[in-house]
Amino acid sequence: MDWESIYQKHSRGIYQYLLNMSGNSHDAEDLLQETFIKAMKSEAALREPDRIHSWLMTISRNLFLDLYKKKMRRNTSTAGNFSDGMMEIPAEQVNPERNAVLSDFRSKLLQAMGELSETYRTAFTLSILQKHSYREIGEITGWTPAMVKINVFRARRKIATVLVEFRG
């Protein structure tokens, strides 16, 4: 497989997911690297090449969940970073000119996401930010169609409550 092309095509979306889930660019970068290393070493397990994006997202989600559990056990959870407002804004997003306009909304969004459970953060990121179909979300997470629908709704409602009212 031409992994360099696959990386060029899919890394950005996976990085965004990992950044939203982990809350910091250091973990997101490590997890993105691990995702591709793991995928390249186990490419024989990819049965449907057409669904490579879902497969890569599943690997990255599982790696994130492993890290999340470790951090929870050490009582320095990723969720804690979010809720304490410590979520790091990616370098691309701290462009001073754009930041002047966008920082309020973005920092509020990141803060609101940090207050979501891992499940709702996943639903929000995959559906509303990344616009994956419910079928793809089911493939990535292993949720049933009904679970996908309800998790996306609850995540959307929580974030809307914070952000829409914030904007007036």
Partner: protein, 201 residues
């Protein structure tokens, strides 16, 4: 009967383009009648607009691919060879093998030492693959007529082959009416009982 909470789950799905059929009709119909659900719908819409306006997808960290590719050395990607190139390669290999074994056979000590009449026509029974009669005969004529010596040797080889392997259906070659010089005589293609064509030259 669905309550508003259940309707709002469908409103969320509708915004994601995941609702169709009767559910979609009922949801739209409910929205026109229920102010609370309409308010939720507008809130969801506003969130969608804010996100689309004000978020962007971050670039993956530069240089990360280099680290990944160093950690897992890649096998070279197999080139996709066009079908025509593949065919030419296969044909070249087949031709090389044919020449190799043909020469080997030609240079070996013949098993049939007595060549009764070198001017007799060559009788060739062939599985000619996908070639039709005309193509096969044209090709064979070209080969045999290009060099009288080649014709003589081909006759010898095929005669030996027939003697060795074609048991029971061998027909003695006819006499060449044109004298001593071996050349293309005549062509006659017929189906024998074994469903193979016989050609006389």
């Amino acid at each position: 009967m669905m309550n508003c909470e259940e309707r709002q789950v469908n409103i969320s799905a509708m915004l994601d383009g995941e609702l169709s059929g009767q559910e979609l009709i009922e949801t739209v119909s409910h929205l026109s009648e229920c102010q609370a659900c309409m308010k939720e719908f507008r809130r969801f819409q506003s969130l969608q607009s804010l996100i689309e306006e004000e978020t962007s997808i971050p670039e993956a960290p530069p240089g990360l691919w280099d680290r990944i590719s160093q950690a897992v050395p890649q096998k070279p990607v197999a080139k996709i060879i066009p079908l025509r190139t593949k065919f030419i390669k296969i044909a070249s290999i087949a031709a090389a093998l044919l020449i190799f074994f043909g020469l080997g056979y030609f240079m070996r000590k013949p098993t049939l030492t007595i060549l009764e009449d070198p001017n007799s026509p060559i009788v060739l029974a062939s599985d000619r693959g996908s070639m039709d009669d005309d193509q096969f005969l044209t090709l064979t004529r070209e080969l045999l007529s290009s060099d009288p010596e080649y014709h003589r040797r081909m006759y010898f080889i095929l005669h030996t082959l027939q003697a060795d392997y074609w048991e029971g259906t061998y027909e003695p070659p006819e006499t060449n009416e044109q004298g001593n010089s071996p050349q293309l005589m005549q062509t006659d293609a017929t189906n024998d009982n074994n469903d193979r064509n016989i050609y006389r030259f």
